[in-house]
Amino acid sequence: MEIPYAVKPRPDTGLYNAKVGIWLFLASEVMLFGALFSSYILLRVNAEPGTWPHHWLNIPLGTCNTIVLIGSSITVVLSWASLKMGDFAKYRKFQAITILCAMAFMGIKSYEYNDKFQHYEFALKNGNVVDGHVDREKSTVKVPFWTPFKITDESGKGIIVVHGHKIESKDNAEGHAELMDGNKHPAHTEIEIAVSDIKDFSNYGPWHNTYTAIYFVLTGLHALHVFGGALVIFVVWGPLAGVWKKDPERYTNRVEVSGLFWHFVDLVWIFLFPVLYLL
């Protein structure tokens, strides 16, 4: 039994099944990301004045990643066009670049993630705040990456070395603004803090504040989409390549559908980039 219109378009709608299916699916994806975007706006609007970070992320890296993803979108559409013109070899080449771009994107993203996880903020008992990267070589205690943020320090003399800067009092409005603004780069120095002085600390993981929370969820979900999209493109590109010989139209349709998904992933990033990195 063959399902009708799986390959050839249905005359009255002009569409083949998977095309309708993928657009419906993308519609639901729009609502999924829409909910997250509206959460973002809400958290931002409701944030206490001066607590929403600005330019916290690495803009050059983000720009670079945006261009990588745009590049992959071009190769996807070109690979589909090549197939339409019957040029399988060219399709293969373009799509290989797509997959490489996806890998590059994920590589850069994980570098950025790691950077945030290495970045800590220590609130000291005297009201000062120390903010920066922990030097794990020089520190005498283990500093956790993950909640709960508790340090075991049997000796009572544990020391943590941080490359960063110190803000004299958290209530100091300027210091606070400094912490929230990624553009102010106060001189980084090596700071030593005694574990016994620490009141509270965390790294810049999702638990840090609502900004990092929504940042990780949005980009994490997006990364999952990148991964999924790349996987599908790869499977069509490699293991399923034989279909091209048997049923080129079906194969082209698959490439088109996976391409539509990929463009959507690109589209989401086009909005994520300014919203998270720039605004």
Partner: protein, 624 residues
């Protein structure tokens, strides 16, 4: 479903590739991609969940009627399974008293199971899968394998939900609405807790619904038989189509919200947790800055469309059965179609009527109550059209028809009592009282469940080739009708008197505490009546359950493929329909409800009847 003939085929191999190979048992019944088998899988699973959800509620009802009394028999089983934390001893040392935590777990899981694991899968998954492709003359769904995955996701979600009863701390206990911050703190330090399971289970269920929705909509758009134009589609198909869109577009925000709440519970983020929370006297160690209202918005953005997901397929079923058993076309078919589209559209912009008392300003609550009143109009139109369809009919009162007819006033009661809730000013008093409980149970229990029963009796012969027993069907109907009303009608009184919902002791301690202004003994006493009626309702299902299984092999055999003399295409297949459904390609020439066409040889003219043999009327009589 003719299990007897095929169960002995080779269950060990599953080489699906060879066309001439008889598929094995596993492939035929468990990993099937045939929409009918998947429909039946959905049906059986969801009926079991329906029953299970009801059993949970029976335990709760016992506790409400007899606070602090051990539950007979079942209490000690529960104790054996769930331990001292959840089930305790009473003053006399008798074991089996439900603890508040368990009551809250059961309450949350009753709501969740009924909505997401019973009614939606039954109405959309089972009936949608089994009937829709047949009614549009398709050989299957557009994406059969995705259809199978959809069922598997549903099954997985169900298993996760059930498993959560057995983990330390028990199942989710923050209501089916899972409001933060309670949902985050109620676990009492267990990680993962019941709420975690609930959230992950919900993600699985949502995935299932999304896959199903994509599949249904695509199928209806792409695989309609030749000649089956939009305005010739049976109303049931329209209902499934709109329902598909509701699921497709309303569920993702809850999925997003679920992920955020999961992060709050597991990762220590603060999406829904404001700064300065003090729980049990201790400041909560979170970054803060979030908003509990955000959760409510995202939840109800799904929540309201979801309630129409619960009702629209039911309305579709009822329409089919009323047309069939009045032997006349549905009156105002077009207005039905426009009304259902209107409901679908409006249902996305009324959600905050569940949140009137969260400190909403005048403008916003005016907006949402206006849309809420607007959405009641298409419901009135649908009901009116169905009522008017009865006029001039030649009604036969078989079991499906009885249930379908009863649906009308039952939905009427439920829908009408939505109005005082929809006005924000009257909701100030009625909010979160038993009036709300009564309102929505009238729409989903004697409403949707009756519609689903009607559908089961109606399409049973198509699925099995045998009829269900008519006498026991009527007994089932009569008793269910009486007990349903005895269960839910008194809840209006309780609500109007001011009794709050989600009360472990049914409000008894409130009554005892407050002297003259608290709840009177009469109101508390009603708890007992309701509980007895609920047990009666349970007993009333016994004839149904026996009838259901007995008829598979012993029911009266149908002698025709179209035992109800119906017009729609599902009756044009062999019975039960084989893989691929139709013997030959089918073409449609007319509207869905051409009953009693003047001058036609029979009182039903099937949709695929070419014009030569019966006068061709143009679609349906429109309101003239």
């Amino acid at each position: 479903m003719q299990a007897s003939t095929h169960t002995d085929s080779h269950s060990h191999d599953a080489h699906g590739g060879h066309d001439h190979h008889e598929p094995g048992f596993w492939q035929k019944y468990i990993f099937s991609t045939d929409h009918k088998v998947i429909g039946i899988q959905y049906g059986i699973t969801s009926l079991m969940f329906l029953f299970f959800g009801f059993l949970l509620m029976l335990c709760m009802r016992w506790q409400m009627a007899n606070p602090g009394q051990p539950i007979p028999v079942v209490g000690s089983w529960l104790h054996a399974i769930l331990g001292d934390e959840m089930v305790a001893k009473d003053a006399q040392g008798r074991v089996g008293v439900m603890m508040p935590d368990l009551y809250n777990s059961f309450g949350a899981m009753h709501g969740t199971i009924m909505v997401f694991l019973a009614i939606v899968p039954l109405a959309f998954g089972a009936f949608g899968n089994f009937v829709t492709p047949l009614q549009i003359g398709a050989c299957d769904m557009t994406f059969p394998r995705i259809n199978m995955v959809s069922y598997q996701c549903y099954f997985l979600g169900g298993v996760l939900m059930l498993a959560s009863f057995f983990i330390p701390g028990g199942a989710a206990k923050s209501g089916w609405t899972s409001y933060s911050p309670l949902a985050t703190v109620a676990g009492g330090g267990h990680h993962p807790d019941g709420q975690t399971f609930w959230l992950i289970g919900m993600v699985a269920l949502i995935t299932s619904s999304l896959l199903g929705a994509v599949n249904f909509i695509t199928t209806i758009i792409q695989l309609r038989a030749k000649g089956l134009t939009w305005m010739r589609m049976p109303f049931f198909v329209w209902a499934q189509f709109v329902t598909g869109f509701l699921l497709l577009l309303a569920f993702p925000p809850l999925e997003a919200a679920g992920v955020l709440q999961l992060a709050d519970n597991m990762l220590g983020t603060s999406f829904f947790l404001p700064t300065g929370l003090v729980v049990s006297g201790q400041p909560m160690h979170v970054s803060g800055g979030g908003s509990p209202l955000l959760w409510q918005h995202l939840f109800w953005f799904l929540g309201h469309p979801e309630v129409y997901v619960l009702i629209l397929p039911g309305m579709g079923i009822v329409t089919e059965i009323i047309a069939n058993n009045t032997r006349k076309p549905i009156w105002g078919y077009r207005s039905l179609v426009y009304a259902i589209m209107g409901i679908g559209f409006l249902s996305f912009i009324v959600w905050a009527h569940h949140m009137y008392l969260t400190g909403m300003g005048t403008k916003i609550s005016t907006f949402f109550q206006t849309t809420t009143m607007m959405i009641s109009i298409p419901s009135v139109i649908i009901l009116t059209a169905l009522f008017i369809s009865l006029w001039g009919g030649s009604m036969r009162f078989n079991t499906p028809m009885l249930f379908a007819l009863a649906f009308l006033p039952m939905f009427g009661v439920g829908g009408l009592t939505g109005l005082p809730l929809g006005f924000n000013a009257s909701d100030i008093f009625l909010h979160d009282t038993y009036y709300v409980i009564a309102h929505f149970h009238y729409v989903v229990a004697p409403g949707t469940i009756f519609a689903l029963f009607a559908g089961i009796y109606y399409w049973y012969p198509k699925a099995t080739g045998r009829m269900m027993n008519e006498f026991w069907g009527r007994v089932h109907f009569g008793l269910s009708f009486i007990f349903m009303n005895l269960v839910f009608m008194p809840m209006f009184i309780q609500g109007m008197e001011g009794m709050s919902r989600r009360m472990y002791d049914g409000g008894a301690s409130y009554a005892a505490a407050a002297g003259s202004t608290g709840l009177g003994a009469f109101v508390i006493g009603l708890n007992k009546n309701i509980t007895y009626a609920a047990f009666g309702l349970g007993l009333a299902q016994i004839p149904f359950i026996i009838n259901f299984f007995w008829s598979i092999t012993k029911g009266k055999k149908v002698t025709s493929d179209n035992p109800w003399h119906a017009t729609t295409l599902e009756w044009q297949t062999p019975t039960p329909p084989p893989h691929g459904n139709f013997d030959k390609e089918i073409e449609v020439f007319r509207g869905p409800y051409e009953y009693s066409v003047p001058g036609a040889p029979t009182d039903y003219t099937t949709q695929n009847e070419p014009d030569k043999q019966a006068p061709l009327t143009h679609g349906n009589p429109v309101r003239s």
